[in-house]
Symmetry: D2
């Protein structure tokens, strides 16, 4: 299992007239979490895309447990539970508020997509290499 954590402060423009973080903005928070998860591995999603592999989203499931409010510092935990085998990679997201309450959780499935060939690819070797130690039988 691989896990990383980043904090995001809720912007005024991300709230809606209910006074909540708008439900559509959680996908952005998940994305920030994924980008940072890859960075903490010593790679960047940006470099991966420049090397020819994009990661469009295939599916996203979000559960809203409690609202988030303007100016709250949200902790976004991003977890990869399984080493990707085929063309897909799954990121679990858990969001906690300042009282450390779980406010939202989700699962996003992305596709390794070869930009030049315009088709699904496997996991880039460099990402596989960086992730493998977290899934070794001895850990």
């Amino acid at each position: 299992m691989y896990e990383s954590t980043i904090q995001i402060r809720v912007r005024y423009g991300e709230t809606d007239q209910m006074g909540y973080l708008y439900y559509g903005n959680y996908a952005l928070y998940y994305e920030v979490g994924r980008t940072d998860a890859i960075r903490q591995l010593g790679l960047t999603y940006k470099a991966m895309e420049e090397s020819g592999i994009a990661l469009p989203v295939a599916e996203c499931n979000l559960q809203y447990l409690r609202p988030a409010f303007y100016d709250e510092l949200i902790t976004v935990k991003t977890i990869i539970k399984e080493l990707p085998q085929g063309a897909f990679i799954q990121f679990h997201s858990e969001l906690y508020n300042e009282q450390n309450k779980l406010i939202n959780k989700g699962l996003t499935t992305l596709v390794f997509f070869d930009i030049t060939a315009r088709k699904k690819a496997g996991i880039p070797p460099i990402l596989q290499e960086k992730l493998a130690p977290y899934f070794s039988p001895n850990i």
Copy 2:
């Protein structure tokens, strides 16, 4: 079953550097579909909220089948398959591109929430009344 349809043109600012409608913006399209579904019933979501019932989202599941591009006219179909019984209402969304290909589908579950009492409520009677004919045994 109750069903409504609205069209949305993809804005430049809604695309990302992949050239796709950003995955996080589909939730906005679902919302536009839901708002219009209620309007076509002869109500408005706005009036419902002003009467004291808000509809925060409890869960949202999105499947991304094909990309959507800048300036495409997307058809958003919004479907209520079951008359709400308790505190929840479910909207199915189906998005079609100009070639009439299904590009995205999703399911959003919202809660009838009493703003004053700060707790779950049932379906507002006026909404129940407007929806009922679509779910009568004879239709």
Copy 3:
């Protein structure tokens, strides 16, 4: 002078906790207005970009006169007051609410940018040709 008009309904996710259309979202409305202004000329901004000319924004000035609210149908008037001479084109935007009150006005300056050459360009001949009749001395 060339002028076009389009209507945009304020989305829930575009409001903020003040209950207003968030100030940062007006730029999106201006963009929708510009895209439609070009479409009503018989061109598309999309095709122009695909032909190698992008239109990054150089400057944008926005004045907020009255708030806009969720579900309001906003009329966006887009005006080109002068035929572009050099590398820049200016669009004036005026937004009106359902009571026909002016709620916002702005001026956006964009650059004709040659994507391949990576430098400023002049107005594409096809756009010049379509716009010219609106600026002829006899009109």
Copy 4:
């Protein structure tokens, strides 16, 4: 003069198909800068709003000098050049990329607005008190 600095990393969802930070998203960055400017004074914009003074935007002028790209760490400098006298407060924003190049600058004018009275107000005394030392004749 009062000045504060915060860093923002460009999100994937904030880019557009040109590969640039979308021009409409800079207003969000300005807002993050303003919120943090007030926080660094020992106040919060949130508390100010809860105490009855909101700060809707009256005018915003943005100049785009260079593009910003996905994953860049942008430094947002927020400057108050004059102690507010009447109902308005002005924030200057300067954005720098990782090469310390100025990429964007802007000026945002906001109104002190009394939420209960529904009219313009003056600067809240607590904000006046916190800002005053930065504008004393001896500094």
